[in-house]
Amino acid sequence: MSEHELTEDLLSAYLDDELDAGARADVETRLAASAEWRTILDEVRDTRDAVRRLPAVDGPTEFWARVMADDTVVDLASERRRRRMPRWGLAVAGAAAAAVVVIGVVAVPQPNRVHPAVATLSDEHAARSSVGNDVISSLASIAVPTRLGR
C-alpha cells in the first residue's frame, strides 16, 4: 500500500471489506502490533453492528394508504399544512376528509430544469473579455475546439 498513508480511517473500510488485498494486509499487520487499533476496531465494529441492527421503519398505515390509492396523489404542500395544524384543526380536517382533493402529479408546480451550455458560455465570456483586454489571447480560446468529457 504505497500510495496511501496507513491511517485509522482505514479501519472502517477494513471492516466493510472495502480495501484491496494490499491495504488489507497492511491493516492486519498494524492490528497485530497495536492494541490501540484493536480497541478502536472493536468499538467501530460494535457501533456499526448496532446501526445495522436498527429495525426497518414502516411509515404510518394511513400514509401508505394515501400514497398507494389508485387515483389519488397527495399534494405535498397540503399534506405539510395538515400535519402542522393544531389538534382542534385536525378534528375539523377529519370531518372534511371525505372531500379530500384529488390532485395529479402534474398539479405540483415543477421548477424549470436548466443545463448551462458550458462551451457556449465559456466562449461568451472570452468574447466579452476581449473587449478592453488582450484581444488575440481571448479570441484564441474561442477559436479552438471545446472538449468536455472523457
Partner: protein, 167 residues
C-alpha cells in the same frame, strides 16, 4: 415489470419500506421522512423512463439522499463548515480502561440524528441502505477516500455520543 424496469406501483410496494427506513434514519423523524418519501416517489415516477436496470436500491438511496441534502441546505441557508482534518478534534481521546463495556445504550436513533449530516449521511447509506463506498461516493459527489474517512469518523463520533450519554 417490463424489460427489468419496475412500475411505479411496484417500486412503492416493494421498496417503500426501504425508502422510508433510509429517509427516517436520515431525517430522524416521521414528518420529514414522509415528505422525503413522497418527493422521492414523485421523482421515481418521473425518472422511471430513464432508469437503466441495475441497482434499484442504489438509485432510490441516491434520490432520497439528494432530496435530504437539498432540504438541509434550504433550511440552513448558511455556509457549510469545512470538516475538521484531525480526528481528535471530532472524537475525544480514548476513554479510560474501565469504560471497556461494549454494550451500547439505547437512543441510538437519537444519537444518529444528532450526527452532523456530513457524517450521518454516509453512515446511513453504508449501514442502513447497504451501499458500497463507491456508490456512496457517486451519490455524494466526493472521492471514495472522503467517504471512507467520513464513515469512520461518523462511527467514532456516534460511539462517543452514545457512551457519553450512558455515563
Amino acid at each position: 415489470m417490463a424489460d427489468g424496469i419496475p412500475t411505479w406501483e411496484e417500486v412503492a410496494r416493494d421498496y417503500g419500506r426501504f425508502l422510508y427506513t433510509v429517509a427516517y434514519r436520515l431525517a430522524g423523524n416521521d414528518d420529514d421522512a414522509q415528505d422525503l418519501v413522497q418527493e422521492a416517489l414523485l421523482r421515481v415516477r418521473r425518472g422511471l423512463e430513464r432508469y437503466e436496470p441495475g441497482s434499484l436500491e442504489g438509485w432510490l438511496a441516491r434520490i432520497v439522499t439528494n432530496l435530504f441534502l437539498d432540504d438541509m441546505r434550504r433550511r440552513k441557508r448558511r455556509p457549510t463548515s469545512a470538516l475538521p482534518d484531525d480526528p481528535d478534534r471530532v472524537v475525544p481521546p480514548t476513554p479510560a480502561a474501565d469504560e471497556s463495556s461494549r454494550e451500547l445504550p439505547a437512543h441510538l436513533q437519537e444519537a444518529l440524528a444528532a450526527l452532523p449530516e456530513d457524517f450521518r449521511v454516509p453512515v446511513v447509506l453504508c449501514d442502513v441502505a447497504d451501499q458500497s463506498y463507491e456508490q456512496i461516493a457517486s451519490t455524494l459527489g466526493v472521492p471514495v477516500g472522503t467517504v471512507r474517512s467520513r464513515i469512520h469518523r461518523g462511527r467514532r463520533l456516534l460511539r462517543t455520543t452514545l457512551t457519553e450519554g450512558a455515563s
